[in-house]
């Protein structure tokens, strides 16, 4: 079959950051899915609130000390996250490794504190519907934190043990994007689980 060479792409780059690249779209796709789940879970929280007179029903409010400290730490983690993302986007492998390592360590601390947050809820998941949605909402987020921390650790190992290709720099950048997603949802979930019972 004869064909006519109309466009030549040999000189095009072999990778791209952000929405130009395919990985970004996959990541954002999953963020939309997980985000939809958070939105629905939050709607369920308020739906259940409307079903009873007192909130929490027959239970004390959660303690906010550890959760607030954890939130502060996670907001601070945006700085190393931003530095990690920038390092990746300027192909700075040592810089990316450093800040990713810092981020991973902070993530582990976040996880430990998150474990303690469960003890501050002052309820057990089976006590009533409020307790159930509180535990599940928190756990949905915890699963994301845990998978991202493990993800970051593996990525850190990968960029430490193998040559850092262009593709890997894109992965590093998208990893930081996902951490921003986790931080962004941390805020409303903290507000709803730890502060809303005092306000509603």
């Amino acid at each position: 079959m004869t064909t006519r060479a109309a466009i030549d792409v040999a000189e095009l780059p072999d990778h791209a950051f952000g929405p130009r690249g395919l990985i970004w779209w996959g990541t954002v796709g999953f963020m939309v899915i997980e985000g939809s789940m958070f939105v629905i879970a939050i709607v369920v929280y308020f739906y259940l609130r409307l079903k009873v007179h007192q909130w929490p029903p027959s239970l004390p409010d959660p303690f906010i000390g550890i959760a607030t400290a954890n939130l502060a730490l996670v907001l601070l983690s945006c700085i190393p996250n931003m530095l990690a993302k920038r390092a990746a986007e300027r192909y700075d492998a040592p810089g990316a490794r450093l800040w990713l390592a810092v981020l991973t360590v902070i993530g582990v601390v976040n996880l430990v504190l998150r474990g303690l947050e469960y003890t501050q809820l002052n309820c057990r998941w089976g006590d009533n519907a409020y307790a159930s949605i509180t535990w599940v909402l928190l756990s949905m987020h915890t699963i994301h934190v845990a998978t991202d921390v493990v993800d970051s650790a593996v990525l850190l190992a990968l960029v430490s043990l193998q040559p850092v290709t262009n593709r890997r720099f894109v992965d590093l950048s998208e990893n930081s994007l996902y951490w921003y997603f986790i931080v962004a949802w941390w805020i409303p979930i903290y507000l709803i689980i730890f502060l809303a019972p005092r306000w509603l």
Partner: protein
């Protein structure tokens, strides 16, 4: 390089491994899609047998062919399997097969995820039918209302198998949706601007977005149910602040879009078939695209029409009545445009077009009974009766299965390299058409005469016997139609006429590649200049193509979202056994967690290992070597 040499190199690069481990490592979208389609039709057949058995039980009043328990398991598994294991997966699978070829690319985005999703889907289906065969099949209906499905009234594990099946199929479905969306938005051939995207591909894009926004709701609701049953949460327990209606809201917020998720791809198939068999592009492309998108959006605003009898406030109900009627407008626009297309084209009555005409006759009737159901007062008489059963079979079989079978006849040559028998096809159509109407039309009357849904028997004094007998006779005819299709497929796969690249004079790019296509789809990635990838080439001696894509790497061209300008290239992953291994661990975890919450901590280490195996670059993988070779750290285009 000659075409022959190029073919050899591309075939070598994009190879599909052989052997047991090899075949479980394949990431070719066409192979995965064919597996999906075959598996989905297998589940369809089993679910169809269940329906035939149910119809035999209902043929006579006070019948004892099935026990109540068998009947209740059968109607539940029939509905569950049809909706979750057949309808959505087969539509997604047609997209997985056709979309990359229709848009001029070599593969689907995230190919390993695609393989993983198939195995997860397969294991979920096997779990459900195994549960049924050991008399532990779910028995509370395909939408599993609480409290009947909850811990107090559903002892044993029957509803848990249902709820976990949801998890399996939603994981698979969501994964494919993300792949399709990314593929369609970022990997179209250069020149395929947004206004040149084929209508089938538009339909798949709308479906993918609907899946992404709808499925989370059912994932949550079924998880809440599993938690209520397994660890004692109180989501649906009114005694502890929970709510039985919460289930219905969460389920139907997903459940209504679900039927459009099934229906919208079929609309894409209808467009492809009508265009080809009238010889002209579909009339009214902008209206057609807007209708697909509008259907997708409006579909999210209807769900309460499943709950008109629950005593919700009147003002809300009025809104849902209006919305449920309004959604027929975009569908109407499509029907009008198709009729115009048939009007101004030259119809050729091949089997695919017959099934499309059957679709119009059946779906429009179903849509109209849907409009009647949207009216709250009228719904209060026919809700939960055989009127509704008739309605949804008209819209689902008419609106989705008829186009699908037309699509099977249409694309079977492309997928297998053989033609299905045309004469058998015509018999197939008429037997289905007559069988379908005989089965389901009487059910409208049964509902109006007071026969509720989900009754394993009815008394002779009801007077429902005659209509039920007619309906059963129709079901037997339908079953024969199914067998005929199966026979046609099995015979044609081996002895059908060999199919050329373009047996029908088809409109799109898929008809420019061999039947079946090689693993790499296109010898040369095309440059698109119009909406009809195949017809636009007519009279063109040397169609324009892209050069500069590596043939010794799985290199894929990434283009911009709206204008489809060539932007950069990326390397797709090699075949790998890790997605399969990960699916085994995932499935074991899902099934284990039906029985114990300890399944979660136990599953985490193997899940982590298989995921790391999946993503960790292997030195022996060609894609790893290609990545390393690319490591030139050149600046991005547009920068200094």
């Amino acid at each position: 390089m000659t075409d022959e040499a190029l073919h050899r190199q591309l075939a070598d690069t994009w190879y599909n491994p052989a052997g047991l481990v090899g075949r479980l490592s394949i990431v070719d979208h066409k192979v995965i899609a064919r597996r999906y389609i075959v598996t989905a039709f297998t589940f369809f057949s089993i679910a169809g047998v269940l329906a035939a058995l149910m119809r035999l039980q209902l043929a006579f009043p006070d019948n004892h062919f099935l026990t109540a328990d068998q009947y209740n398991q059968f109607f539940t598994v029939h509905g569950t399997a049809m909706m979750f294991l057949f309808a959505v997966p087969v539509m997604e699978a047609m997209g997985v097969y056709l979309v990359p070829i229709m848009i001029g690319t070599r593969a689907i985005a995230f190919p390993r995820l695609n393989a993983y999703s198939y195995y997860v889907y397969l294991f979920g289906g096997v779990m459900l039918f195994t549960a049924l065969f050991v008399n532990s099949g779910p028995d509370v209906g395909w939408f599993s209302y609480v409290p009947l499905a909850g811990p107090d009234f559903g002892p044993g594990k029957r509803p848990d198998f249902w709820a976990q099946l949801i998890t399996f199929t939603e994981v698979a479905g969501l994964a494919v949706a993300v792949e399709l969306a990314a593929t369609i938005l970022k990997t179209r051939a250069p020149g395929m601007t947004v206004s040149r995207i084929p209508l089938f591909v538009w339909a798949m894009l709308v479906m993918a977005f609907m899946v992404i926004f709808a499925m989370p709701s059912v994932v949550l609701s079924s998880t809440f149910l599993l938690l209520d049953r397994l660890v004692g949460t109180q989501f649906y327990n009114p005694a502890e602040g929970g709510d039985a209606l919460l289930w219905q809201h969460l389920f139907w917020f997903f459940g209504h879009p679900e039927v459009y998720i099934i229906f919208v791809p079929a609309l894409g198939m209808v467009s492809s078939i009508i265009a080809t068999f009238t010889g002209r592009p579909i009339f009214g492309y902008p209206a057609m695209v807007s209708s697909l998108v509008a259907t997708g959006f409006i579909g999210f605003g209807l769900w309460v029409h499943h709950m008109f009898a629950t005593g919700l406030p009147q003002l809300g109900l009025t809104y849902f009545t209006a919305a449920s009627m309004i959604i027929s407008i975009p569908s109407g626009v499509q029907i009008f445009c198709w009729i115009v297309s048939l009007w101004r084209g030259q119809p050729r009555y091949a089997t695919p077009l017959l099934f499309v005409l059957g679709f119009v006759a059946i779906f429009v009737l179903g849509g109209l009974t849907g409009v009647t159901l949207a009216s709250t007062p009228f719904d209060l008489q026919v809700h939960d009766t055989y009127y509704v059963v008739a309605h949804f079979h008209y819209v689902l079989l008419g609106g989705a299965v008829f186009p699908l079978i037309g699509g099977v006849y249409f694309w079977f040559p492309k997928m297998t390299g053989r033609m299905l028998d045309e004469r058998l096809g015509k018999w197939n159509f008429w037997i289905f058409f007559i069988g379908f109407n005989t089965t389901f039309f009487p059910q409208h009357l049964l509902g109006l005469h007071g026969m509720p849904r989900r009754v394993y028997t009815y008394p002779a004094s009801s007077g429902w016997g005659t209509l039920n007998l007619i309906s059963t006779a129709g079901a037997m005819l339908l079953a024969m139609g199914g067998l005929l299709l199966l026979f046609n497929v099995l015979r044609s796969v081996r002895r059908g006429a060999v199919a050329p690249a373009d047996p029908w004079g088809g409109e799109g790019l898929e008809w420019t590649v061999p039947s079946p296509p090689p693993a790499y789809n296109f010898l040369h990635v095309p440059v698109v200049e119009g909406r009809s990838g195949n017809w636009d080439r007519r009279g063109n001696e040397a169609p324009p193509v892209v050069t500069g894509i590596k043939a010794d790497c799985r290199e894929v061209l990434i283009t911009t979202v709206t204008a489809a300008e060539a932007d950069h290239k990326t390397i797709y992953p090699d075949p790998s056994i890790w997605p399969f291994l990960c699916s085994v661990v995932t499935s074991a975890f899902f099934i284990g967690s039906i029985f114990t919450p300890w399944a979660l901590p136990v599953a985490i280490p193997p899940l982590a290992i298989t995921l790391i195996g999946w993503f960790w670059p292997k030195r022996s993988d060609r894609s790893t070597q290609c990545d390393l070779a690319n490591n030139r750290l050149e600046p991005l285009r547009g920068e200094a």
